[in-house]
């Protein structure tokens, strides 16, 4: 199985680590060896949310601290064993994640990070006020193992390794599924993900629930190992910072990152703390702080990626010469039917006082290729944004396949059958072409295998099959455009909205892309394409809609449009038309 194979390096690491851990008898070093695993696990929890979605959390201590306090208090006051509390803490963490995520995901960027900071601080003061300045785990004398208490510290290491293994497996499973790919898609380009049919909020909530569950369990385990919990050691800023630091140091968005980060940083910080802590009481924090600073300046994506990029670059330059070219597909004859796929009636959209689109109406027939053109600032992109749900129109109706889609969210519009590409390409750079396209396939796919099959088909249809294993960052502009096209095609749309797919392409390149788009239309897709210039478009489209200053200026066959004095004036100026 793929998953198992991908875990082999981790199992090798775990085995080596276990051997080393079992050989160490000094109880202090044992503790450090255990803590490395604990913080690596916590780093993976942070990574699950922030690494994959790109929403930076400064408040993972919330989940960690709740787990830790729940476990200690449950044993102390209710006599419940940590064995039982570990999964309960995971549930608490997941619940807290959902409760915190639901309001907080309305925010992005700075606001999100800062709000996440406020939660653990609020918990910090609340637990202090509740009268828990310090809670110790009661020693159990009879059958201590029932309460996860062991005299041999190595047992904790084994348990920690087990915990980490479970978390790594969960992370790997997430990473390789539509869950993980949807998260990364959100991170790379939330708008594009949304347009590709990814339900952004739902995936974010799942991510924070899983992340909170892991953090809750890790917090519970930490309490058992350390035996004393204070609001500061549970909810303190250093706790959140540690999760972030180990993950970022090692590398964000990979299972290895937090493990590498913890293996590097925890021993240094702990040793310094033990050796110098009495003279230099804040030395741990200074180490983490400096690690963050050096990291952000020198290798902002972490040790893992830096090393991987260095390695990849070397192997890529070797491959440079085998330039597998795009396959040109034979163009089939195409049939335009009388059936209306898209009907836009009276759509208007203003921003402040500016009328970006005003009272635009047109219809598109099945199998047709419609070109929307107009000078800079004519309102073309705004029109697209309204069509695919990024913006709500102020007035008007949009009907797709007989269904009113006016005001639907982008992922709903996508499911209703309209896919789109973007003027500014944002490929998932580190992924292969096939994986990039797969994100688009999830909207329709039954399962992973189905998604792969759909993606493979889409890649083939745009002629990129020979390049399907290439990493996106090595593609040319034309190949990227085709990949974007494939991603939209993978959503199995009836209607494809293409935003300046030909922009910036030279004559031959544009011709190749034009052929691909024609091929898609021949296979039954309906296509609406925006372009600034008519050059390549004249060869491509059946009909033009010309926008100028947000209004529909002209509509008709290419040969008529290019002779229309109004159009010539809009493009080349009144004087040109007059000399005509």
């Amino acid at each position: 199985m793929d998953l198992l194979r991908s875990l082999i390096p981790f199992f090798i690491f775990a085995a080596v680590y276990l051997v080393i851990a079992l050989l160490v008898t000094n109880s202090y070093y044992q503790l450090i060896i255990t803590l490395v695993l604990v913080w690596a696990s916590f780093g993976l929890s942070w990574n699950m949310l922030s690494g994959y979605t790109g929403l930076i959390s400064f408040g993972h201590a919330s989940f960690f601290g709740l787990g830790a306090f729940a476990t200690v208090l449950a044993q102390r006051y209710l006599g419940i064993s940590p064995w039982f509390m570990l999964p309960i803490s995971a549930l608490i963490g997941a619940g807290a994640g959902l409760l915190i995520g639901l309001p907080t995901f309305r925010l992005r960027g700075h606001y999100f990070a800062l709000s996440m900071l406020a939660y653990p601080l609020a918990f910090f003061y609340t637990f202090q006020w509740l009268g828990y300045p310090e809670v110790t785990v009661p020693r159990v004398l009879d059958n201590p193992a029932l309460y996860m208490q062991f005299s041999d510290g190595r047992v904790y290491t084994v348990l920690a390794l087990l915990l980490l293994t479970i978390i790594v497996i969960v992370t790997r499973m997430v990473e390789r599924s539509r869950f993980g790919m949807s998260l990364v898609a959100i991170k790379q380009n939330e708008a594009a993900a949304d347009a590709a049919g990814v339900n952004v909020l739902a995936w974010k909530l799942r991510a924070i629930a899983v992340s909170g569950a892991i953090a809750g369990a890790v917090g519970a385990f930490y309490a058992v190992v350390i035996l004393v919990i204070t609001p500061n050691s549970a909810f303190g800023m250093l706790v959140s910072a540690q999760a972030l630091t180990v993950a970022m140091f090692g590398g964000v968005g990979t299972v290895w990152g937090p493990i590498i980060g913890a293996a590097f940083l925890i021993p240094i910080a702990e040793t310094l703390h033990a050796e110098l802590g009495s003279y230099l009481p804040g030395i741990q924090g200074v180490v983490y702080g400096l690690a963050i600073i050096v990291l952000i300046i020198a290798a902002p994506e972490g040790v893992f990626w830096k090393a991987r990029d260095l390695f990849m670059r070397r192997s890529d330059t070797e491959r440079e010469f085998e330039d597998a070219d795009v396959v040109t597909l034979p163009t089939a004859r195409r049939q335009v039917t009388d059936e209306t796929v898209l009907e836009v009636s009276g759509v208007s959209k203003s921003f402040g006082g500016l009328k970006a689109v005003s009272d635009v109406s047109f219809a598109v027939k099945r199998g047709e290729i419609l070109g929307i053109i107009g000078p800079n600032g004519a309102g073309k992109t705004t029109l697209f944004n309204v069509l695919n749900g990024f913006q709500k129109p102020d007035a008007g109706r949009i009907v797709l396949n007989g269904v009113d889609i006016t005001g639907l969210k982008p992922h709903q519009v996508c499911l209703a059958g309209a896919g789109r590409t973007f003027q500014i390409m944002r490929p998932f750079k580190r992924w292969s072409v096939a994986d990039n396209v797969k994100v688009g396939a999830y909207a329709r796919a039954e399962d992973e295998a189905d998604a792969e099959a759909i993606a493979r088909d889409a890649v083939r249809r745009v002629g990129l099959a020979p390049l399907s294993d290439r990493i996106a960052s090595t593609l040319t502009t034309k190949e990227l455009r085709l990949m974007e096209l494939a991603r939209a095609v993978a959503g199995k749309p009836d209607l494809l909205l293409l935003d300046e797919t030909l922009a910036g392409l030279g004559g031959d390149e544009a011709k190749q892309v034009v052929d691909v788009v024609r091929g898609l239309a021949a296979s039954g897709l309906t296509i609406v394409i925006i372009e600034h210039t008519m050059q390549a478009m004249v060869q491509l489209v059946d009909r033009f809609v010309v926008l100028d200053h947000g209004e529909l200026l002209a509509e008709g066959l290419p040969e008529n449009i290019t002779r229309d004095p109004k159009v010539i004036e809009a493009y080349l100026g009144a004087k040109w038309a007059a000399h005509g």
Binding site: G54, I56, F58, P103, T104, R106, L107, R108, G109, H110, Y111, A113, L114, S115, L117, A118, Y119, L121, A122, Y125, T126, Q128, W129, M237, L238, A241, L244, M248, L280, P281, G282, I283, Q284, G285, V286, Y288, G289, L290, A291, I292, I293, L295, I296, I297, P300
Partner: protein, 320 residues
């Protein structure tokens, strides 16, 4: 004294305390807003710059022997004013060596990633400053002592003969000084060429470059100014509240709450935001236990951010 009178007295007392503390919070917030509005950098370490201001005021006062020189009353305030140039240079240097690497026009196009780099870098700076201060200064609680802290102006009796309002002199002096500093700053920003060029650099860094404004330098000045302002506010706070190396964390949310409330990007809005937070905090004592005071601020902060991230006092909202 009747129950109503006691209630009225405690409410008035809380309002007075809230306004005077709010003015200092306002100054704290203005420092943060200065940096944010001009550079679009959320400085996580702002609370720790404030902490440095507190220690700087303390050591200047003790170390330079200002008390015998200027007297017990004026001495501490001279020390606090001297904090400004020192922390300005500090902020300038932090920007020059670190912040600059992840900000500016170059990274403006990086969108999300650029912002995260700033946030995380300042988190690192915060950790180093807090823990470094712990190593250098120790965990002992200190304060900038002024005899005014234990002295009050008494107003009253009001409404009959029972109600007396106490105005703590140290806080009132600090509040008035804070307001004066903000007025000066406002004049400087709105009237001088330097101030205008800072605003232009904030408004549209690319266009500012086309005007011949060195945006990088403008950012350095803004960062230095913002640091100095918050540090001076810290000095004022230190005359009424004891401090320690981790004190920044207690105030960093106060600052953010104020800035967000005031409408992120608006320097004057930040003052009113800080003022509001001061009032809310002091009034909350009437109904909530003292320990939950800070928790209240966090809750208020969350409510503001979630309900109205564009703030209540500021201009039109930021888009990101």
């Amino acid at each position: 004294m009747s129950a109503t009178e006691i209630l009225i007295e405690s409410i008035l007392q809380a309002v007075v305390a809230g306004v005077s503390l709010g003015a200092i919070y306002g100054l704290l917030c203005v420092g943060l807003a200065m940096i944010f509005s001009i550079m679009r950098v959320i400085n996580f370490a702002q609370g720790d710059f404030m902490m440095l201001g507190m220690y700087a005021a303390y050591y200047i006062l003790i170390g330079l022997g200002l008390q015998p020189l200027f007297g017990d009353i004026v001495g501490p305030y001279v020390a606090i004013m001297l904090v400004a140039p020192i922390l300005f240079v500090f902020g300038w240097a932090i920007h020059r060596t670190l912040i600059r690497q992840v900000t500016g026009i170059r990274t403006a196009e990086m969108e999300a990633e650029g912002h995260y780099a700033q946030l995380i870098l300042t988190l690192g700076i915060a950790l180093v400053l807090q823990n470094g201060a712990m190593i250098l200064f120790g965990a002992k609680l200190l304060s900038v002592r002024t005899p005014l802290a234990s002295d009050a102006w008494v107003f009253g009796p009001l409404f009959g003969d029972a109600i007396l309002i106490f105005l703590n002199k140290a806080r009132i002096v600090a509040a008035i000084a804070s307001v004066l500093i903000i007025l000066l700053l406002w004049l400087a920003i709105s009237r001088t060429l330097l101030g205008k060029s800072l605003r232009a650099a904030a408004d549209n860094p690319e266009a500012a470059t086309y005007m011949g404004i060195d945006v990088d330098r403008a950012h350095r000045i803004a960062f230095g100014l913002g640091t100095a302002i918050t540090a001076v506010a810290g000095g004022f706070l230190a005359t009424s509240y004891p401090f320690h190396p981790f004190v920044g964390l207690e105030y960093v949310i106060v600052m953010y709450a104020g800035v967000v409330l005031g409408g992120i990007g608006s320097v004057i809005g930040a003052f009113w935001g800080g003022m509001t937070i001061g009032l809310v905090q002091q009034l909350s004592i009437l109904v909530l236990p003292q320990q939950l005071q800070n928790a209240t601020i966090f809750v208020v902060f969350l409510i503001i951010v979630i309900l109205r991230p564009q703030g209540f006092f500021g201009r039109v909202a930021e888009r990101t």
